[in-house]
């Protein structure tokens, strides 16, 4: 079921989707991310692991410039998506976020109907010319979010009335409805039970067909299950980055080894 068999050569053949060089992030005086360089490939699941406060979520939020909403946050360095620097002054973060979707730690559906939750993005970006096109987009997104069969009969019921796992899949459907190229997931399963987690993980694996997925997770098992590439962050540094299999079996850095064997965290 899991496809962890891609070789390093295959990765190199994949076009690099996101390329970060010399990224520094400061929260006021606090230096949160220290000189991170990373290449994230297209149509791959990349996992960020590391102990709490190591900067993995901060780095994730740099990729769609969600950190812009925090006043004291300052980002230096370059992050290129398809060769374009997203921190270029000409880039509008709102336009960027339509291209780089995000799923958050806690399921956060809008307190509106299931339909409106998914239709909101396409509506504000003008992706549908009429009602029937919008209906199609919503159905496609909900199918991709693997929740269509559960909600197709109650599209106009409030999204907040779903269970936690359903809410998170609804949020994933909402994120893919705007046809992003990259999907960022910030601990998407930390608020879910094991069954819902399994469903979401399965979904992430399917989403890899269409998107470049970057997932932050606390669970090393999850990283091992869903990702092809893994980055280990520690105290703001990117310690090690490579094939998931290699990271978990033969890590090069002693800190990585300590973390995955449970000695630091």
């Amino acid at each position: 079921m899991r496809d962890n068999t891609q070789t390093l050569e295959a990765h190199v053949a994949n076009k690099s989707k996101i390329s970060a060089t010399g990224v520094q992030v400061y929260y006021g005086d606090n230096h949160a991310i220290k000189d991170v360089n990373v290449e994230i490939e297209d149509k791959t699941v990349t996992a960020f692991i590391g102990p709490s406060g190591c900067g993995k979520s901060t780095f994730l939020r740099c990729i769609n410039r969600m950190n812009d909403t925090i006043d004291v946050c300052r980002v230096e360095g370059d992050i290129l998506i398809d060769g374009e620097n997203i921190y270029d002054p000409a880039v509008d973060p709102v336009q960027l976020r339509a291209k780089v979707g995000m799923v958050f730690q806690k399921p956060n559906p809008f307190p509106k109907s299931i339909y409106d939750n998914v239709a909101y993005g396409p509506r504000i970006h003008g992706l549908a010319r009429n009602k029937s096109e919008l209906d199609e987009i919503v159905e496609r997104a909900l199918r991709r979010g693997a929740i269509w069969n559960e909600v197709k009969d109650r599209l106009h019921a409030p999204g907040t009335g779903l269970s936690g796992g359903q809410q998170q899949r609804l949020c994933i459907a909402r994120a893919v409805a705007t046809e992003p190229e990259v999907l960022l997931m910030d601990e998407p399963c930390s608020a879910l039970d094991p069954i819902a987690t399994a469903q979401v993980e399965e979904l992430i694996d399917e989403l890899r067909q269409s998107y470049s997925v970057v997932i932050v997770t606390h669970s090393m098992q999850q990283a091992a299950r869903v990702s092809q590439r893994t980055a280990f962050f520690h105290l703001g540094h990117l310690v090690e980055f490579g094939d998931t299999e290699k990271i978990f079996t033969t890590p090069e850095d002693p800190r990585t080894e300590s973390y995955i064997t449970g000695r630091i965290g």
Partner: protein
């Protein structure tokens, strides 16, 4: 502790007993405090209701008056201009005749002269007849049944406020007139009726407390509330959204924030003198106008609305903003599509509370001339309602309370009842809105 080698759970130790006693004492203090509060409220409400309900009833005398053509239209051509020339003074004889007829045709007896009898009526009785005649001149020559207001003293006598002892030195009424009143009351001609005019009418001069009404000052208050709502809500909400969602957090916004809180604590009379200086003396807006009152109350209400709006914006979880930004909504779209609808009940509640506060405010109105004898009739248009001199509910209550005649005192209490009905209704609506739209995440 050291000697507790084996302590039984079935027996409370000294420390537990002490703690439980302290808790019981604290609960008792709380109950006493609530009891005192409730008692005060009961006393307040009973006082207001027992003193104020009288204002909603008024004594009327039903009397047949022959509208004598010889007195009202001497030329006999029913020319409206000629009829208008007859002043209220010219109607006095009709009233005297009516009382003469009453004595002649019924078994009511009195030694009073008919003119003295007519003094048991309100001084507005002649004007009342004249208004009817001017409205419909064809009535001249006919006998028409009028419901005349009885004078304030007669009304007070029926309500028990005026007694035969208390009128010993009263030159407005004497014992013979009260005898007549008793007979008329027994005959059913003189009766207490529901006093609609109190709720709809205008204030009246010192000599006619029986005719004073609260309606026009209600219109004044309403006009002010319109101004407050039209200005304070949009300005307050826009300011709050900017401060809460867009403004950078730096020392300038900190100073603004502190000052908004300070403004909320400024005594309202200060806003009144500001209104006098700026709106009337500098901008030359009319004195006593509800527009000016509304502007002053807007200044007063703004901090309340801004504070409550910011609180309700703050209570919208940040995850909703993240969700909107995450799908590529702009800051403004996330605020207007998601945050504002969720904060709306809180904003509405705050606005209603602010309006209720403004509705009951008297002090600033003293300084811009909205208190005083303003006996105009209700305004004909919104523009006139805003610009022509008017009073407001609390100012009208204050005005009545300081007049000499105790009949006005009763009306002040009646006004308080009406004002309280408005305030309680508004607070009730606010609570209902909060309950209805309260959302949990």
């Amino acid at each position: 502790m050291t000697d507790a080698t084996h302590s039984s759970l079935l027996k409370q130790d000294a420390r537990t007993v002490k703690r439980n006693r302290a808790e019981a004492r604290f609960k008792a203090y709380g109950l006493v405090a609530i009891g005192i509060g409730v008692l005060m409220l009961m006393v307040l409400l009973t006082t207001i209701i027992s003193r104020g309900t009288g204002a909603f009833q008024q004594t009327y005398l039903t009397l047949d008056v022959t509208l004598d053509a010889a007195k009202l239209d001497k030329k006999g051509n029913r020319n409206i201009d000629d009829i208008k020339k007859v002043s209220t003074f010219g109607y006095k004889p009709l009233l005297v005749n009516a009382f003469e007829t009453l004595i002649a045709t019924s078994d009511i007896t009195s030694d009073l002269k008919p003119k003295a009898m007519s003094d048991i009526l309100s001084k507005g009785a002649e004007a009342q007849m004249r208004d009817v005649v001017l409205a419909d001149p064809t009535l001249i020559g006919q006998t028409v049944t009028f419901d005349f207001l009885a004078s304030g003293r007669v009304d007070g006598y029926l309500k028990g406020r005026v007694t035969r002892d208390s009128i010993a030195n009263d030159k407005n009424i004497n014992a013979e007139q009260l005898d007549l009143v008793d007979q008329l009351h027994a005959a059913g001609a003189l009766e207490k009726k529901f006093n609609l005019a109190f709720i709809t009418g205008a204030d009246s001069s010192d000599a006619r407390p029986e005719a004073a009404g609260f309606g026009v000052s209600m219109v004044g208050s309403l006009a002010m509330m319109l101004v407050v709502l039209a200005l304070a809500l949009p300005i307050g909400v826009a300011a709050s959204i900017y401060l809460e969602e867009f403004a950078p957090k730096n020392w300038i916004t900190d100073i603004i924030e502190v000052n908004i809180s300070n403004l909320a604590a400024v005594p309202s009379i200060v806003f009144g003198i500001l209104g006098l200086a700026v709106f009337i003396n500098y901008m030359h807006l009319p004195n006593s106008a509800p527009l000016v009152g509304g502007l002053v109350l807007t200044l007063m209400t703004l901090p309340t609305i801004i504070i409550s709006t910011r609180a309700s914006l703050k209570s919208v979880p940040p995850s909703i903003r993240d969700a909107a930004l995450g799908v590529g909504a702009s800051k403004m779209q996330s605020v207007f599509h998601h945050v504002l609808p969720l904060a709306a009940p809180g904003i509405l509640t705050g606005t209603i509370i602010g309006l209720a506060q403004a509705l009951g405010e008297t002090a600033p109105l003293l300084l811009i001339g909205m208190v005083g004898f303003i006996a105009t009739n209700g305004p004909d248009s919104i523009g006139e309602g805003l610009l022509s001199p008017n009073s407001a509910m609390p100012a009208q209550i204050y005005e009545w309370a300081k007049r000499a005649d105790p009949a006005f005192y009763e009306r002040a209490w009646g006004g308080i009842i009406i004002l309280l009905v408005f305030l309680i209704t508004m607070n009730f609506v606010a609570v209902m809105l909060r309950r209805r739209f309260e959302r949990r995440w």
